[in-house]
């Protein structure tokens, strides 16, 4: 980007943003952590879409993944464990002009923040919500999360997790007013990027579950799938996530029309294979942010209106 501080006269539209314009602090995740790949894909998206850094807000909760905003040079809000979505809702209701991204971990989104997750889907406010799902509590050192596979040993359930994992896709797809649900994996960068791009372009609340490796605590969980693309099934459709460069490597493909909710739910329910792609998209869902757009009112108008209000109560 050409520094606007140097050339303050430059019109906004003439600024051009390069990767460096979005880079924040040096990422401090463990080497090999999947969060690095997500950051790379997001930066690529920011450049590709030429999002103005000052018009872009990344909101996160607490967890390894929630350190995300620090590593970008946009506005960021690193808030409370589980509570990224309410903050993002407040930002977007008050400032619909901003581009809002939300980064959450699986404990963040699916456990402590589950109430907000369900309601954010229903509000369907225009923003991109990324679930960085490593199936474990990373930051607090290997406790069972709602998405931990049954039998997987953790520090709080050392003899293996007791229950079958919660399925974030069926939960999301089962919620009233859902408008965009996709799944991708951070070790398939082309798919990750294409998915985030589709999510960004969707008009409404885009929910993206990103399967994420945590070499520290769930080493090996996705090793087989990383090595063998045959374990993955790509959902393909002209209206879906389009990444032609993957055609040669990922030969397991299922055509799925993302407007078909029943089929999306069936595909999400079936846990025999890992499916990546766009499960559902519907831009005609009710959008709370559009329904709640108040008029612009000047201060003189406000005072006149309030005087009318006071007239009702006048003695």
């Amino acid at each position: 980007m050409t520094q606007c501080a140097i050339l303050p006269m430059l019109d906004d539209d003439e600024r051009e943003f390069a990767l460096g314009d979005y880079e924040g602090a040096v990422a401090r995740w463990c080497p090999g952590c999947g969060d690095h790949s997500v950051l790379t894909a997001v930066e690529k998206l920011l450049v590709a879409e030429q999002l103005k850094p000052e018009q872009t807000v990344f909101v996160s909760g607490i967890g390894c993944s929630s350190r995300f905003p620090h590593y970008l040079k946009t506005y960021g809000f690193h808030g409370l464990h589980g509570r990224a979505l309410p903050v993002a809702t407040g930002v977007k209701l008050h400032r619909p002009d901003l581009d809002v991204f939300v980064v959450m971990g699986d404990g963040d989104c699916c456990s402590i923040g589950a109430a907000h997750w369900i309601h954010a889907i229903r509000y369907n406010i225009h923003m991109v919500a990324m679930l960085l799902d490593n199936s474990i509590y990373g930051l607090t050192k290997k406790q069972t999360s709602p998405t931990t596979p049954q039998g997987f040993k953790t520090n709080t359930q050392p003899f293996g997790s007791f229950l079958p994992p919660l399925n974030p896709l069926t939960t999301t797809l089962g919620t009233t007013n859902v408008s965009f649900v996709a799944q991708t994996a951070e070790w398939v960068p082309a798919h990750l990027y294409a998915t985030l791009r589709a999510a960004y372009r969707h008009q409404g609340f885009s929910f993206v579950r990103i399967l994420q490796r945590c070499p520290m605590y769930t080493q090996g969980m996705y090793e087989a799938a990383v090595r063998d693309p045959g374990m993955i099934e790509l959902l393909v459709h002209d209206d879906g996530v389009v990444a032609p460069e993957l055609d040669k490597i990922y030969r397991n493909r299922a055509t799925h029309d993302p407007s078909d909710l029943d089929s999306a739910r069936r595909l999400a329910e079936d846990s025999t294979r890992i499916r990546l792609g766009l499960f559902y998209r519907n831009e005609s869902r009710a959008r709370y942010d559009l329904l709640r757009k108040p008029p612009k009112v000047t201060s003189s108008e406000r005072i006149a209106l309030l005087n009318q209000e006071l007239d009702h109560y006048a003695v």
Partner: protein, 634 residues
């Protein structure tokens, strides 16, 4: 004593006795859903408009639809009005209109009625076809016959049936007519008020209500042998009349805030009912969130990205918000929180007043989280406090908590019409580029304050974090950094404190006893102090608006009195109770705070009766305290 008023032909009627009173307190009680509250509200508003001082308060049962005809189910309105200003609900009720004998009994058992109260009682129950009802009536009237109330039976249902086939719906307007006659209220003003109360209903509804009201006037004129005159002085300045929650809502409009996020909870909800109707006209959004945590989170998100936003709640909801309040403090995100207190802990007394959230408002979060706490004392202050709170929140980049309560929320009182100012409104967003090199928390070491940049401002991009951080919002765990940042956040309170006024002393500047109060008890405390002073007791009072930071000069003021005692609606152990000693006695919340902050031996007189403290009871407490002083020094 019971008298059945029989209709008399006009020529036989003797002119009614007119009783002159400087003030009177009336109440209308019914089963829930019979509209007694509307009757009281209209009567209160009309009395204010005619130039009486007025304090109206709701009588609310705990359940929405308690069983009919039960002593616990009394629902209605209580209006204290007088020739001079009225600052509180006062003591006992002088005149009651009861729609059945059971709700009357409930009020009697609560000790709400003056011993010589006049009672106008619906008597259709006496002749009910249901033998249980008849016997309940007989039993209750027998019980009440031992009192010295003057009970006048009124055939309300029989009368209302001449106009409306559903007497449950019409009695309230008939009762309004009775009051209009007794107190000689302007019928035109009542008509206007009925029109406003039913503005969302049809013309036909309005006409029927007016007809019922006039029927009440006619019946009273034909049957009652008394009238009561409470002289009015037409107001010399423009006044408005509303309840505390409406005042908070309007204050929010006057402050220019544009987003309120809340989750329904009594007794705070009616602020949002009011805003829900009008806020969008003002460019505002009332967001009903999925819970209180989300509500405060949404408010913080909005504040972070622009104009200060606010959330409204009561005790249980406040408890849920605490983690986010700590986040707002450490990220220095301005935020206004309104807590309309009710009885606690837990679900407690949802509809009843208490002042038990003071220490929670000050200290609920783990970690050091300095914030501002302000308590309005009157309905008028409920309006202005929101404007002040928004300004402080923005100026100091801090959290401001407003502590109102259930007494103010439904209390209705006239006050001078606010002369609105543009400066009260939050300024438009300034999205100008941030000064080059300016860091996110550029603390001015003298004040602890720092300029805030918001999304949309080029050059200001940074990530706010709830982790300990330095001026650059860089996460930093070092001891020096945390010490400094914590100091800066605390310094803001000290700076604010230096700008506050010493509290005014009501009464002599020195003396034997100083009563200290905060919040909605102001009127009752001052009235009690007046009464004590009239008896020669050397008592004064101060009322604190700021609880954090505390106003200056308290220690010096306290030193001028032999005894200092808080009066609060929260719990304290009473000296003399089993096991209670000086050492283990748990004191009132303000008392604890003042003892810690001033090292003065501040005593307290506190009660949790689930109703506003009556001036008469405070007066007695002042007498008792004064007695211990003279006892100590005969």
């Amino acid at each position: 004593m019971t008298a059945v008023a029989a209709p008399a032909s006009p020529e036989l009627r003797i002119a009614p006795t007119v009783l002159n009173r400087a003030e009177h307190t009336i109440e209308i009680v019914s089963d829930a859903g019979e509209g007694a509250q509307k009757c009281g509200q209209i009567f209160g508003a009309v009395s204010a408009k005619m130039g009486n001082g007025v304090w109206t308060v709701e009588i609310i049962p705990a359940e929405i639809q308690p069983p009919p005809r039960t002593a616990e189910g009394a629902s209605g309105n209580r209006v204290r009005f007088g020739t001079g200003p009225v600052t509180n609900g006062g003591d006992e009720t002088n005149l009651v209109i009861a729609f059945n004998e059971q709700v009357l009994l409930g009020r009697h058992r609560l000790g709400a009625l003056a011993s010589d109260a006049i009672v106008l009682l619906e008597n259709s129950w006496a002749t009910s076809s249901n033998p249980d009802i008849r016997s309940a009536w007989d039993k209750t009237l027998a019980e009440l016959s031992t009192t010295s109330y003057r009970i006048i039976e009124v055939p309300m249902e029989q009368q209302c049936l001449t106009i409306d086939e559903n007497p449950r719906k019409g009695k309230n307007m008939f009762a309004l007519g009775l009051l209009a006659y007794i107190y000689d209220r302007s019928l035109e003003r009542i008509d206007e008020q009925i029109a406003y109360a039913f503005r969302k209903k049809s013309e036909e509804v309005y006409n029927r209500n007016v007809a019922l009201m006039r029927l009440g006037v006619e019946w009273a004129a034909a049957n009652l042998d008394f009238r009561i005159e409470v002289p009015t002085h037409p107001p010399t300045e423009a006044l408005v009349v509303m309840n505390g929650n409406e005042a908070l809502g309007m204050g929010a409009l006057a402050s220019g805030m544009e987003l309120c996020a809340m989750y329904p909870i009594t007794p705070a909800t009616s602020v949002s009912h009011y805003l829900a109707e009008v806020f969008s006209k003002f460019g505002g959004i009332l967001h009903q969130a999925e819970d209180e945590i989300a509500a405060v989170g949404v408010a913080i998100g909005a504040s972070y990205s622009g104009k200060v936003a606010f959330t409204i709640t009561s005790g249980p909801g406040f408890a849920l918000k605490t983690e986010f309040i700590g986040l707002a403090v450490i990220t220095e995100t301005p935020l206004v929180i309104i807590d309309v207190q009710r009885g606690g802990p837990s679900t407690g007394l949802p509809t009843k007043v208490e002042q038990s959230d003071l220490l929670a408002a000050l200290f609920a979060e783990p970690g050091d989280a300095p914030r501002v706490v302000i308590a309005p004392a009157t309905i008028e202050e409920c309006f202005h406090v929101v404007v002040t709170a928004r300004q402080i929140a923005e100026t100091f980049r801090t959290v401001v908590i407003i502590l109102s309560d259930a007494n103010l929320s439904t209390g209705v009182q006239p006050f001078p019409r606010p002369q609105l100012k543009k400066e009260w409104l939050a300024p438009e967003l300034d999205l100008a580029p941030v000064k080059q090199g300016q860091r996110p928390y550029e603390w001015d070491a003298r004040t602890g304050t720092s300029p805030r940049s918001i999304p949309g401002q080029p050059g200001g991009m940074f990530t706010v974090t709830g982790l300990s951080h330095d001026e650059g919002s860089k996460v930093a765990y070092g001891a020096g950094v945390h010490q400094r940042a914590t100091t800066m956040r605390s310094r803001k309170l000290a700076v604010l404190q230096q700008t506050l006024l010493r509290p005014a002393i009501n009464g002599d500047q020195d003396g034997d006893l100083l009563v200290v109060g905060w919040g909605s008890t102001k009127g009752a405390i001052e009235e009690a102090v007046e009464r004590a002073r009239a008896e020669g007791i050397r008592a004064s009072s101060v009322h604190l608006t700021f609880l954090s930071p505390l106003q200056p000069g308290l220690k010096e003021i306290f030193s001028r009195f032999r005894k200092v005692m808080t009066v609060e609606i929260n719990y304290s152990d009473q000296p003399g109770d089993p096991f209670i000693t000086e050492e283990n006695r748990r004191r009132g919340q303000l008392a604890m705070l003042l003892r810690a902050q001033t090292l003065c031996d501040v005593d307290c007189w506190t009660r949790v009766p689930g109703e506003p403290l009556r001036p008469g009871f405070i007066h007695q407490a002042i007498r008792d305290a004064a007695l211990t002083l003279t006892g100590a020094r005969p």
